[in-house]
């Protein structure tokens, strides 16, 4: 990624796509602004390259998506026409031989049909992507956590994100996230609260679906033995698309906003977006504790806040009750993963407060609030 450190000529910049994007569309995904300011010599070079690009604009392409679509259809018509012409020619040539060929043609038709049938059949079988396949695809060493109990279980990932894993569900994740992406694999149901990091998008792979987020909270339900996959968004924005394993094409991503949901019908490979979740009996019935509880606190005793967290994440919080008796907080903890929530609460109570987490057990040490 840092090949730009070796750039010495204007030409190097001109042909860099991300540089072009920065200058012309003002999309600075790779931190050009900051990078430029690192050295004076560099700033000069960048400025020259920028001016050059600005002076080399070409008139915007006026074709719209539908123009292109129409052109594509026209082209298919042309193709059919040309193919017919070709066929007519060969047919005329073969007029006398045609009868002899009929037999062969019939065999071919039968052959093609069975090939088509086999292909279709084969493809439907291939459409189902299971958790195991997904795990096998991944080469980084993964940790797998299975919830065999009858209560939801909290998992904290290396980036501070938390996942509330429902009974009979499994989550696989790298011990430490490396690289530019955070990928986890789910079988079953989990409620995700992702720590914000726009540079490292977070991906949840679940059956045939890939959910991409930057920082947000949402629920994914993808049991391998159930006919559909559900995604429900609580805060932030989430993008969903089907896994590359089943569709090669770059199909459109579906964007979900808070309180929107999506159901993927695995047999039909169809997405159904649900904009009003209160009207969907299945989704309403399934709302977990954490999604019902509010994390907006206005002058609320700390003990009450801890109780809410205990209920939401099914954890035990041990704290010095006497010392914190008089402490009240006003804070908004929605849209924060568990560790973030605890950090904020501890910091708000005072500098001498900290927490320690051990599985489901959380211990707060404090000398009281300021």
């Amino acid at each position: 990624m840092q090949k730009r450190n070796k750039y010495t000529e204007i030409e190097d910049f001109l042909s860099d796509e991300s540089f072009q994007q920065w200058v012309l569309s003002r999309v600075d995904e790779n931190g050009w602004e900051e990078w430029t300011l690192e050295s004076r010599q560099r700033a000069k070079l960048v400025e020259d390259a920028r001016l050059m690009l600005l002076a080399m604009k070409i008139p915007e392409n006026e074709l719209t998506k539908s123009d292109i679509h129409r052109a594509l259809q026209d082209t298919w018509l042309k193709i059919r026409e040309k193919e017919n012409q070709k066929n007519v020619k060969t047919l005329k040539l073969n007029f006398f031989r045609k009868r002899f060929l009929t037999g062969i043609a019939a065999t071919l038709v039968i052959g093609l049909m069975s090939a088509w049938f086999y292909n279709n059949h084969f493809k439907t079988e291939n459409k189902i992507v299971t958790y195991k396949e997904l795990i096998d695809e991944n080469s980084e060493g993964l940790v797998e956590q299975t919830n065999n109990s009858n209560k939801p279980q909290i998992i904290t990932l290396s980036d501070g994100s938390s996942v509330l894993l429902q009974p009979n569900s499994k989550l696989s994740y790298p011990k430490i996230f490396t690289g530019n992406e955070r990928k986890v694999y789910l079988s079953g149901e989990g409620f995700f609260e992702i720590s914000k990091n726009p540079k490292k998008p977070f991906f949840v792979y679940a059956n045939e679906i890939v959910t991409k987020v930057v920082g947000t909270s949402f629920r994914v339900k993808a049991y391998s033995d159930q006919p559909d996959v559900e995604i429900l968004v609580r805060t932030g924005k989430v993008k969903v698309k089907s896994n590359e394993l089943i569709s090669k094409s770059d199909e459109e991503e579906i964007v979900l906003l808070p309180n929107q949901a999506l159901r993927f019908l695995r047999n039909d490979m169809k997405f159904n977006k649900i904009t009003n979740i209160t009207q969907d009996p299945v989704l309403v019935q399934n709302v977990g504790n954490i999604e019902q509880l509010s994390f907006e606190f206005n002058d609320i005793p700390v003990s009450q806040i801890f109780e809410t967290i205990e209920q939401a994440y099914l954890v035990d919080i041990d704290y010095p009750e006497n010392k914190l008796k008089e402490c009240h907080l006003t804070t908004s903890l929605s849209d924060q993963p568990l560790t973030e929530k605890l950090k904020i609460v501890c910091k708000s109570i005072g500098n001498n407060t900290s927490f320690e987490m051990n599985g489901n057990q959380i211990i707060i040490t404090s000398e009281g609030c300021n």
Partner: protein
């Protein structure tokens, strides 16, 4: 310049190309959608007749599908498409000027004028001055140098591919590009100092 942001999991051109050769209609359509716009805008820079250009581009794709079985599998798809469009348009010229002898692609003039970004909002006046001056210099370059610059920086072709398209050897293509920028820089440096001077004194 292309401003669209491509989805992350784009299937690469060559995968699509090879699937197309095997008869996959979806891959054909995807390639069509991916490059139609670029090809039309390139075509428009070679011919002033916009409808004919679209026809030409569609004919290029038609032939690709109809004669797919004779296509090479290892090509740089974009360069191949651009060069096919160029040849098509040259052939169009040939047909239209049937009594003239101009038939080679060399005779196509690159007509495109580089333009200036209109919304240099957060830039100061001096920057705007500089940009429009540079733009003027760029447009005064010989057509072939302009075309080389366009292919290099707008269509992201490599020097080798440009050489192939313009039917010259590598060195000449590299010269075309280099000479363009060199002239520019020389003129620019000189007058730049002047502009800067004028400005600093007037402030």
């Amino acid at each position: 310049m292309k401003t669209r942001i491509l989805p992350a999991n784009l299937i690469d051109d060559n995968t699509l190309w090879n699937d197309l050769i095997l008869g996959d209609e979806k891959s054909f359509s995807l390639l069509f959608e991916r490059y139609y716009g670029d090809l039309v805008s390139y075509g428009n820079s070679l011919s002033p007749y916009a409808e004919k250009v679209q026809d030409c581009v569609q004919d290029v794709f038609t032939d690709i599908w109809v004669y797919r079985s004779s296509l090479q599998s290892s090509v740089v798809v974009k360069a191949y498409l651009l060069s096919s469009v160029r040849k098509r348009i040259a052939r169009l010229f040939e047909r239209d000027h049937i009594f003239r002898k101009t038939a080679s692609t060399d005779d196509i003039a690159f007509l495109l004028e580089f333009s200036v970004e209109n919304d240099l909002l957060d830039d100061d006046y001096a920057t705007k001055e500089k940009v429009s001056y540079l733009n003027k210099l760029l447009n005064e370059l010989p057509a072939r140098q302009k075309e080389a610059l366009y292919l290099r920086y707008h269509q992201a072709l490599s020097v080798e591919q440009i050489a192939e398209m313009l039917d010259v050897n590598y060195q000449s293509a590299s010269n075309l590009l280099h000479r363009g920028l060199l002239t520019l820089r020389k003129e620019w440096k000189g007058s730049f100092a002047l502009i800067t001077l004028l400005f600093s004194s007037s402030l």
